[in-house]
């Protein structure tokens, strides 16, 4: 934090860094210095400790022998002097001891730790030198405690499903309007405010139409008669000016209220959409997430709802007031002069045709842009969790290229739509110029013929300017509408997905199940590929089953089916005699505990992570679960014990520690059925032994399905079930299967041989 001078033996200082009132002896050199920042009462202070080649000079310590003297003091040092530095939680201690007795102590916060350790290093170097010089052969003393090294950080790439985006194909054509109308339906809870917004729109639009109407009599009855020599009192001008001012202020206030009201409603529609989309995603089955890219889903929930919000709050208001203004202006125009009004509308068919021509093209363009945006987010969602792999393989530049490529696609998609709509704006400006020209010509002719007054023509032209202004801004609306329509479609694609694992119409709601599982002639297909071909298995309550087989034999699929992450393609799984499909999913899962190969910790405290399945669990239960999982001691060593934050950013726990937390999580819910999917395969043998002990406590009295690659970890299983290519080939205990000399015996021997070879190689 501050420029703390550290030990610099190459260039020894010969002055103290602060005015201590103590002067150095001739030839005395400063070896190191550091600052401490807490006094004996733990108040912030600022003090120095300086190490010279013969003594320690320091400001008032927190405690010291022979107290009474205040201010800086010095302690002579000999080979027996020793410095001990400890940093626990927020307060560090420096202890100076001589002949094994602590004589002084200073306190510091972690901010000063670096300087303190530098001083300690210099002190130790000096002691070593002194010992050598004395050649007294004193044994080296206790020495400093090594600083606690940060444990290996096991980053967890978040599961990001990859695969084809198989959303239902977007319907073309009028679909964009249908999607937008569906968005509007989200306004229903706020109907009152929405209607108020509409009424305010109408009122403010009407108020905006008043000023041109007032200019007509101002010109015809005041200004022109005055010019022609008629005596008109000036007070009449004040009248009209007052009216104009009042109309302007009213229009301003009304449009303020209208903008705020509609923004309020649209903000709530967008928030409702986000929540609905996210809640719906949570209800979808696992296979949905496995086929989607995380970034794409994130961009749908985040950026697409935001685009809809902008459309509703900004563009829709504009659109509504534009339509109203157009209708009202057209009515006024016709009322003022039908002939001129008809002429005004000459360019209008062209405008309609233009809008129609570009609309569909724009929607497709914006849809492409949204997809490109989702792809770009996916690159981020992919690489940030996997940053360790990226760095380990020095692939930073490749990842940058990947991002640049995705970003270029966004750029390209945006460029294409920009070409279309930038062409439309100026084209329409041309139309309106032509329209004005026509009205000027016809208007002049009518004034000459006496059919229209100058004031009437002035008002008419003022209305026309407004009319075209509105039409122009409606044209600008087209891209905004299409952008929102494309976004709305992407949202509804999620909302229209149905969970493949569906809740039964009248589900059985189990309280506490016994845990008897019957797998009856179960087949399961991933797409066209059948991975389980008729599996039959009955597991008794409290029994531990080990699932054994090569990878791809269907072990994990069977476990997933028992967790009801999927439903079997045919056949059924019964728990306590009830088909899983008839059971309430949430109630069933409350009886289920899972420990997976990759323990996932959420951003939150250790206690919150353990209590994930039972957020209301009392602290005693959390501690109890952590103790049983062998996690209690390492949790206490964390800076804030159970309140230490872990997960995405603060993940300083090792793989084995994370796994023990996930075991504690499973223990806390006290499940009747336990699924262990390769729970120990990601850790070393020593950690495995600790975890295995925790698992042994976990499985007691519960129906357990354990999948393990290392067969030794299944030693407590009552029965081993050997799967091969989606079929059960053997069932029995370890000994039975060995003597049967079948698939299990082959697997076992192969593993034994590999272990022996590894042992021989290391010996």
């Amino acid at each position: 934090m501050t420029g703390t001078p550290s030990a610099r033996s190459a260039a020894p200082l010969n002055a103290l860094p602060w005015n201590s009132g103590i002067s150095l002896a001739a030839g005395e050199t400063v070896l190191a210095s550091c600052r401490f920042d807490l006094d004996g009462k733990l108040r912030f202070t600022d003090g120095w400790i300086v190490l010279t080649d013969r003594r320690l000079i320091a400001d008032e310590p927190a405690s010291a022998d022979g107290i009474g003297a205040t201010g800086p003091r010095s302690w002579p040092l000999d080979a027996d002097a020793h410095i001990d530095v400890r940093l626990r939680a927020a307060v560090g201690r420096i202890e100076l001891s001589r002949q094994g007795r602590v004589v002084a102590r200073w306190l510091f916060t972690p901010a000063r730790a670096k300087g303190v350790h530098a001083l300690e290093d210099a002190f130790d170097a000096r002691s070593a030198l002194l010992r050598d010089r004395e050649t007294a052969g004193r044994p080296a003393r206790g020495g400093r405690k090594p600083e606690p090294a940060p444990t290996a950080e096991e980053s967890q790439p978040a599961a990001s499903g990859r695969g084809d985006d198989d959303f239902p194909p977007p319907a073309a054509g009028a679909a964009s309007w249908r999607a937008l109308m569906r968005v509007i339906s989200f306004a229903r809870p706020h109907a009152g405010m929405a209607i108020l917004g509409g009424v305010l729109s109408l009122a403010s639009t009407t108020a905006a139409l008043v000023p041109p109407y007032l200019t007509m009599p101002l010109v015809d009855q005041v200004l022109i008669p005055k010019q022609n020599g008629v005596a008109v009192p000036f007070s009449q001008v004040w009248w009209y000016l007052g009216g104009l001012t009042f109309a302007a202020v009213a229009a301003w206030l009304l449009s303020w209220a209208q903008t705020w009201t509609l923004a309020w409603v649209s903000e709530r529609i967008a928030a409702g959409l986000r929540t609905r989309t996210y809640a719906h995603m949570q209800s979808l089955s696992l296979d949905f997430f496995q086929s989607k890219r995380t970034g794409d889903l994130m961009s749908r929930v985040g950026s697409d709802t935001d685009k809809i919000n902008i459309f509703l709050s900004v563009n829709l208001i504009e659109f509504a007031s534009n339509v109203m203004l157009l209708v009202l202006t057209a009515a006024v125009l016709v009322w003022l002069n039908p002939t001129l009004a008809l002429l005004t509308l000459v360019p209008f068919p062209f405008v309609v045709w233009l809008v129609y021509a570009v609309r569909e093209r724009l929607r497709r363009g914006f849809s492409r842009a949204s997809v490109a945006w989702g792809d770009m987010t996916s690159v981020l969602a992919d690489t940030i969790p996997g940053i360790r792999v990226v760095k380990a393989f020095a692939q930073e530049s490749r990842e940058i290229d990947r991002f640049v490529a995705a970003n270029d696609r966004v750029l390209d998609a945006n460029d294409r739509v920009n070409v279309i709509w930038s062409f439309c704006g100026p084209l329409f400006a041309l139309f309106s110029e032509v329209g004005l020209l026509v009205v000027w010509a016809a208007g002049a002719w009518l004034v000459f013929g006496g059919a229209v007054t100058v004031g009437g023509l002035t008002a008419f032209l003022a209305y026309i300017a407004r009319f075209y202004g509105r039409v122009e801004s409606m044209i600008r609306m087209v891209p905004a509408t299409q952008r929102a329509a494309a976004s709305a479609q992407r949202i509804f694609e999620i909302l229209d997905c149905r969970p493949t694992v569906a809740e039964a119409a009248r589900p059985v709601r189990p309280e506490r199940i016994a845990g008897r599982i019957e797998v009856m002639n179960v087949h399961f297909r991933y797409g066209a590929r059948e991975v389980l071909h008729g599996v039959n298995l009955t597991i008794e309550p409290g029994e531990m089953i080990g699932l054994v087989g090569t990878s791809g034999s269907g072990k994990s699929t069977l476990a997933n089916l028992i967790c009801r992450f999927y439903d079997p393609s045919s056949g059924s799984i019964r728990v306590d005699g009830v088909d899983l499909r008839d059971m309430a999913i949430a109630d069933y899962r409350r009886n289920l505990g899972c420990v997976l190969q990759e323990p996932f910790l959420f951003f939150g405290t250790i206690a919150e992570n353990i209590a994930y399945g039972r957020p209301d669990a009392p602290r005693e239960r959390i501690v109890e679960a952590a103790r049983a999982a062998g996690a209690h001691d390492f949790i206490l060593s964390q800076p804030l014990a159970y309140d230490t934050r872990v997960g995405e950013r603060g993940g300083s726990l090792s793989g084995g520690e994370r796994q023990r937390l996930s075991i504690a999580r499973a223990l806390l819910v006290d499940p009747r059925i336990l699924v262990l999917d390769e729970a120990t395969s990601a850790v070393d043998v020593e950690t495995e032994a600790i975890i295995q002990a925790a698992i042994d406590r976990l499985v007691v009295g519960r129906t357990t399905i354990a999948i393990a690659h290392r067969l030794s970890t299944l030693r407590r299983a009552n029965r081993l079930v050997v799967l091969d290519a989606g079929r059960i080939v053997e069932i029995g205990t370890h000994d039975e299967l060995l003597s049967a000399d079948g698939a299990y015996a082959r697997l076992y021997r192969a593993q034994l041989k590999a272990t022996e070879e590894a042992a021989a190689a290391s010996a």
Binding site: F44, E60, I67, T605, R619
Partner: protein, 168 residues
């Protein structure tokens, strides 16, 4: 300001469970288990320092192993309780921020504050390091891992509240 606390501090406390905690010179703690085993330089810590600051307390050996567990300090009698409380007070050094003077717009942001321990300056890396508790307390963790407490957000002055809001 410096005062020798050893004379005023309790030096030995025995728990009903039979173990003893002794305070030696300059604050070192020695734990003597019921079976007589001695553990030098032990640590006293709270298991839930944030969510249950008055909750369970653990005594941990220098190797990190748990030696004793106390469900609540309130159930412990003096002098053991005094030793534990003194030790926890030092370990849980948690300056209380009374006023936020400034938060510099740097990366990481540098905070200048007044605390009950005097004025102080520290750096905060990320908005996540400012955590609001449901009861209105705010915990701030600096880049060195030091923590600071604002006991009640509402009790701060307007300018401090504005500054604190600006980082969240």
């Amino acid at each position: 300001m410096t005062h020798d606390t050893s004379s005023t501090r309790a030096t030995r406390g025995e728990a009903p469970a039979g173990w003893v905690l002794e305070r030696h010179a300059h604050g070192r703690l020695v734990f003597v288990a019921a079976d007589g085993a001695r553990h030098d330089d032990v640590d006293v810590l709270r298991a839930f320092p944030v969510s249950a600051a008055q909750g369970p307390v653990a005594i941990v050996g220098a190797d990190g192993g748990e030696l004793a567990w106390i469900d609540a300090l309130a159930s412990v009698a003096a002098p053991l309780r005094t030793i534990l409380e003194q030790e926890l007070a030092e370990r849980e050094f948690l300056p209380v921020i009374e006023r936020i003077e400034a938060i510099a717009d740097s990366e990481p942001a540098e905070w200048t504050v007044s605390t009950d321990r005097g004025p102080h300056r520290f750096k905060v890396a990320h908005a996540d390091d400012v955590v609001r508790q449901p009861d209105g307390a705010v915990f701030i963790t600096d880049t060195d891992g030091m923590r600071y407490l604002v006991p009640r957000f509402d009790a701060l002055d307007a300018e401090s509240r504005r500054l604190l809001d600006s980082v969240e």
